[in-house]
């Protein structure tokens, strides 16, 4: 059936097929979990109105289908999801998909910035530490890593804010852009970057420490392997050894971790976005829980599940591309 497709494509399609049941299971699980929690959208709405009579509440419930058995609600929900219809947000008075799309960009920007900084700086520092193992440089890097690793991101966020916004006044304290400044073009880009510096730092440092430690261990392990000795016996210089023989192999476990940790970074962005009042998915999730905005919450979870699955899929593809030993067929 798959005779004429290139192996990488077959592999990709197979991995995608495996991802679909995962997403469906996540959605069913989350739906049921949220239903178990006391209170629903109508409770929250009525609470905002300052109370209402039982007949009105029953009418609202009937209107939103909340009076149906839970299996019927689940079925209706899944059918709507299949066409990417997340329903209506009663808090924002907008379709959930509109609310989500407004917020998605900020979160993706934050995550992309944090992960790329954590990854590149982590592997670079890790490799340097490993090549100078047990020297003063290594000790400095390792201790720094340990400090980053041990600092909770909420604490780091508050300290950064205190120093760079409150004391020094160099960076804005929160938000994604300066309101009422109406910057355009490069001014706007620079404005957004300035707003992202501290959240990115707060989110990335702990992951930087992860990658640093793993990369250091991995490089030290690979540097002792036979094929590195072979390359040395061929007369290769240290720099060449590092790039072609050591790094190339030492990166593989770090990339695996990158894919696995993506979901925790997404989780971490909830805290950071809330502290820096960044209008992203994390902050939205927090508000939706507080306001019992179930449709929005389910939408966020669905979107996050998709993002995580897609990223894991991409990591697998990257890994298959990088590790010649993985058989695609």
């Amino acid at each position: 059936m798959t005779l004429h497709m290139p192996p990488i494509l077959v592999y990709a399609l197979r991995r995608l097929a495996q991802a679909i049941p995962v997403v469906i299971l996540i959605m069913i699980g989350t739906f049921l979990l949220l239903k178990l929690a006391p209170g629903d959208t109508v409770d929250a709405l009525v609470g905002d109105m300052g109370g209402a009579d039982a007949a009105f509440i029953a009418r609202l419930r009937a209107e939103y289908g909340l009076d149906q058995p839970i299996w019927v609600q689940l079925w209706r929900y899944m059918v709507k999801l299949a066409s990417f219809d997340f329903g209506w947000s009663f808090v924002y008075e907008q379709p959930v998909s509109t609310v989500l799309m407004e917020r998605l960009g900020t979160t993706l920007m934050l995550m992309a910035a944090s992960l790329s900084i954590a990854f590149t700086a982590g592997i670079a520092l890790g490799a340097i530490a490993a090549r100078r193992a047990y020297s003063a440089t290594d000790n400095l890097i390792s201790v720094l890593g340990l400090v980053f690793y041990a600092t909770p991101s909420f604490f780091l966020s508050l300290m950064l804010m205190l120093v760079f916004s409150v004391k020094l006044g160099w960076l804005p304290v929160g938000g994604i852009k300066t309101i009422a400044a109406f910057y355009t073009g490069w001014d706007h880009v620079w404005d957004v970057i300035r707003h992202l510096i501290m959240p990115t730092a707060a989110l990335s440092l702990i992951y930087l420490a992860f990658y640093l430690r793993l990369m250091r261990a991995s490089v030290m392990e690979v540097a002792d392997l036979d094929y590195v000795r072979t390359a040395r016996a061929k007369g290769a210089k240290e720099g060449r050894l590092m790039i072609h023989h050591i790094m190339r192999n030492a990166l593989l476990p770090v990339i695996t971790l990158l894919g696995l940790q993506f979901s925790t970074v997404l989780g971490g962005s909830i805290v950071v976005e809330t502290i820096f009042t960044l209008p992203g998915l994390g902050q939205l999730a927090y508000q939706s829980v507080v306001q019992r905005d179930m449709n929005t919450l389910m939408g966020i979870i669905f979107l996050c599940a998709i993002i995580v699955v897609v990223v894991n899929f991409l990591t697998d593809l990257l890994y298959a591309r990088l590790d010649s030993r993985i058989e695609l067929a």
């Binding site: 094929y227 000795r229 072979t230 016996a233 061929k234 290769a236 010649s324 030993r325």
Partner: protein, 548 residues
Amino acid sequence: MTKTPPPVLELCNLEISLPKGADRPYALEGLDLIIEPGEIVCLVGESGSGKSLCAGAIMGLLPEPHVRVTGGAIRFLGEELRGKTDAEMRNLRGADISMIFQEPMTALNPQKTVGWQIDEVLRLHTKLGKADRKARAIEMLERVHITDPASAYNAYPHQISGGQRQRVMIAMSLVLSPKLIIADEPTTALDVTTQLQILKLIRELQEEEGAGVLFITHDFGVVAEIADKVAVLCRGELVESGTTDQVLNHPQHPYTRALIGAVPALTPPPLKIASDAPVVLKGTGLKKTFAARGGMFAGKRKAVTAVKDLSFELRQGETLGVVGESGSGKTTVSRIVTRLLECDQGSVELDGSDLLAATPKELRALRQHIQMVFQDPMASLNPRKRVVDLIAQGPIVHGTDPAQAREEAKKLLELVELSPAAANRFPHEFSGGQRQRIGIARALALEPKVIVADEPVSALDVSVQAQVLKLLADLRDRLNLSLLFVTHDLRVAAQLCDRVIVMQKGEIVETGLTAEVFANPQHPYTQNLLSSIPGRDWTPPSLHVDVA
């Protein structure tokens, strides 16, 4: 001296120091060695003798500063190598002095193609263009007799066989026609038939190039096969050197005599088992296939047949050897008959009861009667348990009183010729040979009828190997044990086994009395195996030395 060309390599009084806390202050002390052009000099020694560090010193690749050259001279074509800068050494390495390593599995970078890795040598040492380099690499792959060099050029190391990888390694080392080739156990990890081919290849290329070869090995069979001259190292000291004939057939130093005396001769033992002894272990129609890995939606999985339709009988007091090359299914057989691996078809009768049909409870009881000795004595003993507990664990599981089991464990230690004082120590405090004795004591603790030994002496040095084999034979005779002995080493099989099964690709190609099979092999595969044994024409002189 001034008129003849200088030797390729001259080591004078070479001294390599070890870090403090090592078992001796010097890895090598006062080593003198000369290699003339066109000569293969074998450096022989057991593990820890310092032979690999000697290679490292010549290449300038010692793990400095912990281990370094502290005295003597290393002259390459008359030129002193000590004191050369890193850059000067880099220019020599790979071009004028090259090295062939032991493990073809790990000595090549798994993420680069074969072609890239050969190309790297040319890129580092020549100014050739891309197309010239590629032509040169492919020509070299042809010279090491790789079929279809063009596709091997684009293959990754894991896509070719172990023998092919070693050919690639050789191609890589010889592509610039080095004057000195250092081969560090280049055939140790290979099957015997492949080993012979590689040895022939090294000989052939070396004769064409006229290079000098320093060949490091622990195997006297290999020495007999390839060497012009031999130097024997013992704990960092040169104890004997001379021509191959002198050293192999008329060794002078007691250490050399002991080593050569420990090499198993290829003459099988006289037959002593009456063939009407009761059958204790019987396999009938055994079959095992392994499914290749694959996840959900992976489509059809490829199956690999490890053992197909295999039957055998093991009689009481007998040793049955299972010999074959890697991938022949011999280890799978040992796992099936101990039911460490479930097989697909067939039956195994242990002393009259069917082992494969046994319920888990019955199986536990049956396990008493069949025990295993494993290959790697390092990995097969739990490092966190004391020796006495390792040995007593089996009997305790089977209901013996713990105190009594420990008492008996101490007696077993005596039986395997270890001091009972060893009982309270941990496995890492013992040498490889001693650990294998512990492994044997552990197997004996349950008083089994059958012992299945999977390559029990492959990881051991030749002198230790001889001792362990002698112990196994003694115990077998004293306790009337039956041994199923899996090995790739035909010399070992010849020494210990009454009968042998020769396996190829999961099937028995030949079976019979060891003496008969070795003297008059019927199947072409057996003939090929026997004619590939390194040094098969050399019979170790009987030196009447006590190797223990």
